[in-house]
Symmetry: C2
Subunit: 345 residues, 2 copies
């Protein structure tokens, strides 16, 4: 009994779909009532016994119906991914009003997504690491403070306040600005090496101290962001799913969302995985496949969005294994598109 016959596959799909809706184990009688399956419960039971032996479904206790195993979910999900023809359901366009600031957009995205799907959602801000310096500006605030503004590709702006020992004149500031811009423009963080630094220092002449400080600031500024920002929403939706909402489980889950450290690991894992595995940029972690312990009873569906210039981020949904995979994937695909076009548009 190694083959997954048409009928078995049909039954399996019905079990999964029914379980997704109800959250209750599915019995043979229930299945036999489906219109396109005219067999008696007994027959179904035989098939179910086979399916269980093959590892697709599980009996939570001796006299209960069956629920999908991780392998079962995987079968179902792979089936979904296979049918590429899904049309993109339009997300309300209200979502992206004119907001220059990425942060606002992302916060809105997770909220909308959580609302649409009723699962927990997360999104990582575009990683800045591979991006280029677009321009640098030093502005004197007063005698002792200099504000450095660094803009990276993707229109990400960072500020930092620099303390000065001695005041700078307007000319000196201008000169430094020119030097910084001409030297740094278009460089990635990786391009700023020792040779470049010493070269800049020599050009700065008597201000080499300041250049050093500024460069350090720039590097700090950028690396600061390396600590990947993540926005989340809808963590409490977990309470909607009885199988996840016992106290301990819920606490661990929500804590992971609050702390975000583990989410970072997850995202690192996702972005590390060879991209485009499915061609759609969508990845699915079922149960133990996820690196986060508190989510071993959950499924995680993620999409990676790319803003060009190698900048990319990840948006994902975490919910019970009996998740409405189809709807979730549609939503993610749609978000991905929207995000990608918001930058181009």
């Amino acid at each position: 009994m190694e083959e997954l016959t048409e009928r078995k596959s049909k039954i399996l799909n019905i079990i999964i779909q029914n379980y997704l809706e109800t959250g209750e184990p599915v019995g043979s009688r229930t299945i036999s009532k489906y219109p396109d399956l005219n067999f008696s419960p007994a027959t179904i039971r035989n098939e179910m016994a086979d399916l269980e032996e093959m590892g697709f479904i599980i009996q939570p206790h001796a006299s209960a119906g069956r629920i999908p195993s991780d392998k079962g979910y995987r079968f179902y999900v792979d089936g979904l991914i296979a049918q590429k023809d899904r049309e993109i359901t339009e997300i309300k366009d209200v979502m992206f009003e004119r907001t220059e600031r990425m942060e606002q957009v992302l916060k809105q995205v997770v909220k909308v997504l959580a609302n649409n799907t009723q699962y927990a959602t997360m999104i990582s801000a575009p990683a800045i690491s591979g991006t280029k310096v677009k321009f640098v500006q030093l502005s004197p605030v007063n005698e002792h403070q200099l504000l450095s503004v660094v803009m990276m590709s993707g229109n990400i702006v960072k500020n930092k306040l620099i303390e000065l020992d001695n005041p700078l004149t307007a000319e000196e500031t201008l000169k430094l600005n020119m030097l910084l811009n001409s030297s740094l423009n278009g460089l990635t963080i990786g391009d700023i090496n020792l040779a470049l630094i010493s070269q800049m220092k020599s050009q700065a002449g008597e201000f080499e101290d300041i250049i050093e400080q500024v460069l350090k600031t720039v590097a700090d500024t950028i690396e600061d962001e390396e600590g990947l920002e993540i926005y989340t929403s809808g963590a409490t939706n977990i309470f909607k799913y009885p199988e996840l909402s016992d106290s301990q489980r819920a606490k661990d889950f929500i804590e992971a969302f609050e702390e975000k450290e583990e989410l970072k690991d997850l995202i690192a894992d996702i972005e590390g995985t060879s991209e485009g595995e499915t061609g759609t940029g969508i990845q699915v972690y079922i149960g133990d496949e996820s690196p986060i312990g508190s989510m071993k009873d959950c499924s995680v569906v993620t999409a990676t969005y790319e803003l060009g210039d190698g900048i990319k981020g990840t948006v994902g949904i975490i919910g019970p294994k009996r998740m409405d995979y189809k709807n979730v994937m549609d939503n993610l695909t749609s978000i991905k598109k929207k995000l990608e076009q918001i930058v181009k548009g």
Copy 2:
């Protein structure tokens, strides 16, 4: 029986303290065992009956011990506030390493606080409303984009990207910068009125369009922040307290923390309340005293910190009514001091 005798007050305090520790109703026998109260359980029972009649304690069911009522907690808390002599317990100084950015500091503060107290914590970023423009800087990014950087007192920096129809020359930019700085410097948002705007426009000559756009941007930038930023931590600590951790309650509570909308109301309420009511800047909401529905079984203790120039924010702790009020107040007082000195220092 309208008087709160010494003995009654002693018993009341014992009931509250014991309940704070155990979370279980306190019976007469338990109380009679306290060393400084040499009476039999029966005597205690009489007193307890009185205390209940006076509204300080409650019997959750007919044959249970007593627990404090909101009025009881209030009595206890007022007693605590009265003794001003509390020494400031030092918080680990690691906390405030050199971080220029307020945001980082605040995030750290809530985390440390949640960790120290094991309750849920929140902190509001200093409200910018009353603050002054310190300086404004427009920098051309490319032909079509202009980056505006606005710095307010309290070293809060805001960026915004402005789309240009026609490119600006360097001179024009410089001129605009000078105009903006000389006109806006030292003003609060309230000071920017129509008269000022039209005056600036006329000075800007052919660039009045741009001035308008920039001013709007500046206003936006500032008002943007009016939507008060709030950082939270430790929401899941609620699960440590059985009386709060049933599913529905926990969901509502954590949701309030995730959404933050209600927290904003709370903070508005706090900052609205005539300050210094206690002289220490500490306020306590017990149960229904709080404006947030999902916290009607909690207590909220808050402190307002002031950074000078009218800039202030609020830091608070939300936990069960049987909260370790003393410890919490000490912690808040300490944080408040630290925050206030971090800006001056």
